[in-house]
């Protein structure tokens, strides 16, 4: 069993929909939680970065961390075709540079 589990999708939604992407993890030592977006044939780019539990909002994106359930989510409001990409969750323990990634969820937003 992988340390971080993520539904690979694909997830196909119409433009304007609210999208929910999720990851579960097993290592309770994880303290930092990230979401990366990866367009086809490009490198991943950081979208959201949260520490410990709680919510963080940035424009149409909201990241949520529930450490008690070992569950993190990324919500995308008013989804756009330009949001079509693979979304990778990543996490790490304190005082380390080692990121553990989920397998990524492929999202397609159709007009």
């Amino acid at each position: 069993q992988k340390e971080v589990e993520q539904d690979p999708g694909p997830l196909s939604v119409p433009e304007g929909a609210i999208v929910s992407l999720n990851c579960t993890y097993s290592n309770s030592a994880f303290q930092y939680f990230m979401w990366y977006r990866q367009y086809s044939r490009k490198g991943p780019e950081l979208l959201m970065y949260t520490y410990s539990s709680g919510n963080k909002e940035d424009g149409r994106f909201t990241a949520q961390v529930d450490k008690s359930s070992k569950y993190i989510s990324l919500f995308i409001r008013d989804s756009q075709p330009s949001d079509s990409a693979t979304y990778l969750c990543a996490m790490k323990v304190d005082n380390t540079d080692k990121l553990i990634f989920g397998t990524g969820t492929r999202l397609q937003v159709f007009p």
């Binding site: 490198g43 520490y51 540079d97």
Partner: protein, 116 residues
């Protein structure tokens, strides 16, 4: 003004050959990484260097050897290539966690390696 660059972008080679991938960052970061992304998009760290010193060395065959001539460059040399080495290899860089609560890793565009 590319932040993290890799060469080559595509690499097609025969089994048994030796090849190198180069990475350079102009962000002034101290830490650099190599990741492997398989056909199912799973991204896994292979190595990291901090200021030319090897910090992370995951369970990777010793056919893979990273080399950091200075803190802006991290190269990956692969000996005796095998079919299973076919993947996309990403270089990344960051300041490193020393003294920082939040540390963003910036990824290069990737090198798509195909072993025939």
């Amino acid at each position: 003004d590319t932040a993290v660059s890799q060469t080559p972008k595509y690499l097609v080679t025969q089994m048994g050959n030796d090849k190198s991938i180069k990475c350079e960052q102009n962000l002034g970061h101290d830490t650099m990484y190599w990741y492997k992304q398989d056909s199912k998009k799973f991204l896994k760290i292979m190595f990291s260097y901090n200021n030319k010193e090897l910090i992370i060395n995951e369970t990777v065959p010793n056919r893979f050897s990273p080399k950091s001539p200075d803190k802006a460059h991290l190269n990956l040399h692969i000996n005796s290539l095998e079919l299973g080495d076919s993947a996309v290899y990403f270089c990344a860089s960051s300041h490193g966690t020393s003294g920082r609560a939040i540390d963003t890793q910036y990824f290069g565009p990737g090198t798509r390696l195909t072993v025939l």
